[in-house]
């Protein structure tokens, strides 16, 4: 256990040091959510007047939850880029030789993703509150929202780590991003599910990200809904992509990456 912890902390520290001392790595993960929040909550606020739009805390809070969970997912993907870069540069090969417990490597990257995302989430939250976001949820509700974000972040980093371990190249960036992008944007991003029509309603109704968004929006407004489904989706994602990442790492080890 001690070996696992020391490997995880060393990998996390290195990854965080890289991210926080290199603006070209840190800024995109920070600016993208802010930019989406500005474009959606600012530019589309009138969508809150669409007949049938009944989210109690207004359009800013409605979009905040999307951006909050999106930043969690993309925070994981951005860490996936770092993992791919480490594979490409040969650093992971040296890490495999040095690490006494190789599973700690994965945990280290996950810790790094969590810390990076918490920083981003804090900035986005400050901006949203400064922009006048109304929050109807209690502290317990908000804790639930943060927990949901943390789970989404870990699921995303496990997905991206699995891709990085299998491809071992930075060129796999789109492969990490596009499925997450699609899953998130095929959920009720701009209006509640009831207001979607046609094919997008059908897709959003079965999209796991819809449960996460609806639960998040319920929590911020103090009217929890779909919690079991959302946390179930997150737990399922942890299990599925945990296996995906571990097997990817083993495959990379076997390939002598």
């Amino acid at each position: 256990m001690k070996a696992f912890r020391s490997v995880a902390l060393a990998v996390a520290w290195r990854s965080l040091h890289n991210a926080f001392t290199n603006p070209s790595i840190l800024l995109p993960s920070l600016l993208f959510p802010l930019f989406f929040f500005t474009a959606f909550a600012g530019g589309l606020s009138r969508v809150g007047d669409v007949p049938g739009f009944d989210f109690p805390d207004g359009y800013t809070a409605f979009q905040y939850v999307f951006v909050f969970l999106q930043s969690a997912a993309f925070g994981g993907v951005f860490t996936g880029f770092a993992i791919a870069r480490d594979f490409e540069s040969g650093f992971t090969r040296r890490l495999f030789l040095a690490a006494t417990r190789r599973s700690g490597i994965l945990a280290g990257y996950a810790i790094s993703a969590l810390v990076r995302w918490m920083f981003t989430a804090a900035v986005v939250t400050v901006v949203a509150v400064a922009a006048g976001m109304r929050v109807g949820g209690s502290r317990v509700d908000l804790f639930g929202l943060v927990l949901l974000g943390l789970l989404v972040n870990v699921v995303a980093v496990l997905w991206a780590a699995g891709v990085a371990a299998r491809t071992r190249t930075m060129q796999a960036g789109p492969l990490m991003q596009v499925p997450i992008f699609l899953t998130l944007f095929l959920a009720p991003v701009y209006v509640p599910l009831e207001l979607l029509q046609g094919w997008i309603h059908a897709v959003a109704s079965v999209n796991p990200a819809t449960f996460l968004l609806e639960a998040g929006r319920g929590l911020i407004s103090g009217e929890p809904t779909e919690l079991a489904a959302a946390f179930g989706v997150a737990a399922g994602g942890l299990l599925l992509f945990g296996l995906w990442a571990v097997r990817g790492l083993r495959r990379a080890e076997a390939a002598g990456a």
Binding site: L44, V47, P174, Y190
Partner: protein, 253 residues
């Protein structure tokens, strides 16, 4: 003649990179599908200028295609700088204007094919052109003009930085100019004051509105004059800046 050789090389190089072509062809269509589905309810807002959000959103697809032209042109030219190809060209009697025109040929070809694909998909999905068949031709012309302008911006960035990575890194900044425009709602329906102000002074709004007017309004002289006027202005300014940057780079090399 000089332009022809470089143009052929530029076109061939652009289409030899499947990742660039596939991404710039299909990503804008994907966003169109997602946005037109997700924001369809916005068409029921009082004062919204169209019954269908798809009709309203189609123009944005062309702008996105032009944005990809920026990065394609910039990255290709930056690669020429990094590999020393530009330096070797500098030893030939090739004129700077010919070099730029040749480099942009691939972007124009890609832009035109993208525009035709977007149009075809839009028409197949039920978009109705208020300006009729003539409007489609004008839309294609404006779309190509915008691709030239944005492609020249990409060339300028490449010549200034000499790095493909730097051009790629500037992509998000250019993307912001798209989102801070009237792409998703008409300016008069943007509620947030500062956002409406930014969208009003953002030239991208007028480029989108020029194209959009052909789909949802018909022949709107003011929107088209602003769209073509700003399109020419952006292209002229970007080409002038790229020419100056090229002179500076050739003088240094």
């Amino acid at each position: 003649m000089q332009v022809g050789h470089l143009a052929r090389r530029s076109v061939a190089r652009t289409f030899r990179q499947p990742a660039n072509v596939v991404f710039s062809f299909f990503f804008p269509l994907l966003l169109l599908a997602v946005n037109s589905g997700g924001l369809d309810a916005a068409a029921s807002l009082p004062g919204f200028p169209s019954d269908s959000f798809l009709d309203f959103a189609l123009a944005f697809t062309f702008m996105q295609g032009a944005l990809f032209a920026t990065t394609n042109a910039g990255t290709d030219l930056a690669r020429d700088i990094q590999t020393g190809f530009l330096n070797r060209l500098a030893l030939t009697p090739l004129r700077g204007a010919a070099l730029l025109a040749g480099q942009l040929a691939g972007v124009v070809a890609l832009g035109l094919l993208q525009a035709i694909l977007y149009l075809s998909v839009g028409l197949a999905a039920g978009v109705r052109f208020e300006a009729g068949p003539g409007g489609i031709v004008v839309l294609l012309a404006l779309s190509v003009l915008i691709s030239v302008g944005f492609g020249a911006i990409g060339a300028f960035l490449a010549l200034r930085t000499g790095s493909g990575e730097a051009v790629q890194a500037l992509f998000p900044l250019l993307f912001v100019t798209l989102f801070l425009s009237s792409m998703n709602l008409p300016r008069n329906l943007i509620e947030t004051d500062w956002f409406r102000t930014v969208a009003t002074i953002n030239p991208v709004s007028y480029l989108i509105e020029g194209m959009r007017s052909l789909v949802i309004t018909g022949w709107d002289a003011e929107a088209l004059a602003l769209g073509f006027g700003l399109g020419f202005a952006v292209a002229a300014a970007a080409l002038a800046a790229a020419s100056l940057a090229l002179k500076g780079r050739l003088a240094r090399s």
